[in-house]
C-alpha cells in the first residue's frame, strides 16, 4: 500500500499534474496585486508559494492572504504546505496570521483576507447569503 502511495506522490511531484496559473488567472492576479505581491505569488523556488501551490496539489492546498488599501499599499503572505500538515485549516490561519502581523506593522487599514487557494482566487468570492 505504501508503495502505491509513494509512487503516486513521486509522480505528482515530478509530473505534469502540477497546476500552474492559467493566462486568465495571471490577468486576474495582476488586476488585484501590486508588483511586490505579484512577485511573491509567482516567484519560483522550493521555499516559495508557487512550488507549494502547484506541486502539492491536490494533496494539500496552499493559501495566500492579502490586505489591500489599493495596489500601492498592500501586504501579503502565504504559508507553505509543510506548515500544517494534517489540517488544511491551519494553513489558512497561518497565512492570515502572518498577513495580520504585516498589516499592523505597515499601518494598512483594510482587513486581511484569503486571496487565493493555490491559484484559485477567492478574494471577492465569499458566500454571505442565507442562514446556516
Amino acid at each position: 500500500m505504501w508503495r502505491i502511495f509513494l509512487c503516486i506522490f513521486s509522480a505528482l511531484l515530478a509530473s505534469g499534474c502540477a497546476v500552474t496559473p492559467t493566462p486568465t488567472q495571471t490577468v486576474e492576479l495582476q488586476k488585484y496585486l501590486g508588483d511586490s505581491c505579484y512577485e511573491l505569488i509567482t516567484r519560483p523556488g522550493v521555499a516559495n508559494y508557487k512550488f507549494h501551490a502547484t506541486h502539492f496539489y491536490p494533496l494539500v492546498h496552499a493559501y495566500f492572504a492579502l490586505a489591500s488599501d489599493g495596489k500601492d499599499k498592500q501586504v501579503c503572505s502565504f504559508t507553505t504546505t509543510t506548515m500544517a500538515l494534517g489540517r488544511e485549516n491551519n494553513n489558512r490561519i497561518a497565512a492570515l496570521g502572518s498577513c495580520n502581523e504585516l498589516r499592523t506593522r505597515y499601518g494598512i487599514q483594510a482587513p486581511c483576507k484569503i486571496f487565493a487557494r493555490n491559484y484559485e482566487i477567492i478574494y471577492d468570492k465569499t458566500s454571505t447569503h442565507g442562514m446556516e
Partner: protein
C-alpha cells in the same frame, strides 16, 4: 451422502438475516436526516409533499435534534410552510445559541441584522464570538470564516459614525483572534521541528509534524477561547424573546399551525 447446497442448508438462518436486513433497511428509508430535510426545504418547494416532511421534522425535534430545531427557526423566519415570525425564529435561535449550537449563533446574528432597530454592536459581537470560538474547530471553521465575511458585509450597510467605530472593533477582534491561533500553530511547528531534529530520521519527519499538528491545534483552540472570554462581549439572550411567540401552550419547539 449428498451434500445439501449451502443456501438450502442455511435457509432458516438466511431468512433471519434477510428479515433483520429489511427491518433495518426500512428504518433507513423512513427516517429522514436533518440534512436531507434541510436540502428538501431549500430546494424542493412542493407544498403537496411538505406535510410528511414537516411531520418528520417534528419527530427529530422531539428527539432533541438541534439541527432540526435550527431548521424550524429558518422555516419560521422565511415563512416556508409555516407562519412567518421573526420573533419566534429569534427565540429559537437564542435558545439554541445558549446550548452552544454554532449555526444557531450565526442565524441569531443574521436575524438581528435584518431588524431595523437592532443594535449593530450586538450583531457584530455575536459574529465575532463565533469567529473566535470556532476558527480552529475541525467541524465549524467554515462557519467562523462565514461569520467574519457576513460581519464585514453587515458593517458596510451601517451609517457613520457608528460604522467606523464598530468596524475597527470588529477588525481588531478578528485580527487578534487570528494572530493568537496563528502563533499557536507556529509554536507547535517549531516544537515539531525540534523533535524531528533530535530524532534525526527522515521517515519520522512527517509523523512528528502530524503529531505536532494535533497538539498545536488544541493550543490554538485554547488561545482563541481565552481571547473570547477577555475581549468579546458575549451575547446574553434576552428572556423576553421567549415570550414573544408561544405556538403550543408555551412550548418553544411546538410547530405553529398554518
Amino acid at each position: 451422502m449428498t451434500r445439501l447446497p449451502l443456501m438450502a442448508w442455511n435457509k432458516p438462518l438466511l431468512k433471519l438475516l434477510l428479515l433483520i436486513f429489511f427491518s433495518i433497511n426500512s428504518n433507513f428509508v423512513v427516517a429522514e436526516t436533518c440534512e436531507n430535510l434541510k436540502n428538501y426545504f431549500k430546494t424542493g418547494l412542493n407544498v403537496e409533499n411538505a406535510q410528511p416532511k414537516i411531520a418528520q421534522l417534528e419527530v427529530l425535534m422531539n428527539d432533541d435534534d438541534l439541527c432540526a430545531k435550527n431548521l424550524l427557526g429558518q422555516l419560521v423566519f422565511d415563512g416556508i410552510y409555516l407562519p412567518k415570525s421573526s420573533g419566534y425564529a429569534k427565540a429559537i435561535f437564542s435558545d439554541l445559541a445558549t446550548k452552544d449550537y454554532p449555526p444557531a449563533m450565526f442565524n441569531l446574528a443574521f436575524v438581528l441584522s435584518k431588524e431595523k432597530d437592532s443594535d449593530p454592536e450586538q450583531v457584530t459581537s455575536i459574529l465575532l464570538g463565533v469567529y473566535a470560538k470556532y476558527l480552529t474547530d475541525k467541524t465549524y471553521n467554515k462557519l467562523a470564516y462565514r461569520s467574519a465575511d457576513y460581519g464585514r458585509q453587515y458593517i458596510k450597510t451601517l451609517d457613520e459614525p457608528n460604522k467606523s467605530i464598530i468596524e475597527k472593533k470588529f477588525e481588531d477582534g478578528i485580527s487578534a483572534t487570528t494572530l493568537s491561533a496563528s502563533n499557536a500553530i507556529h509554536e507547535r511547528v517549531r516544537r515539531s521541528n525540534e523533535i524531528v531534529a533530535n530524532l534525526g530520521k527522515v521517515l519520522l519527519v512527517s509523523a512528528a509534524i502530524y503529531v505536532g499538528a494535533v497538539v498545536g491545534s488544541s493550543i490554538a483552540s485554547s488561545g482563541s477561547t481565552t481571547y473570547i472570554q477577555n475581549n468579546v462581549v458575549n451575547y446574553t439572550p434576552n428572556p423576553s424573546l421567549y415570550q414573544i411567540y408561544s405556538p403550543g401552550g408555551g412550548q418553544l419547539y411546538a410547530l405553529p399551525l398554518r
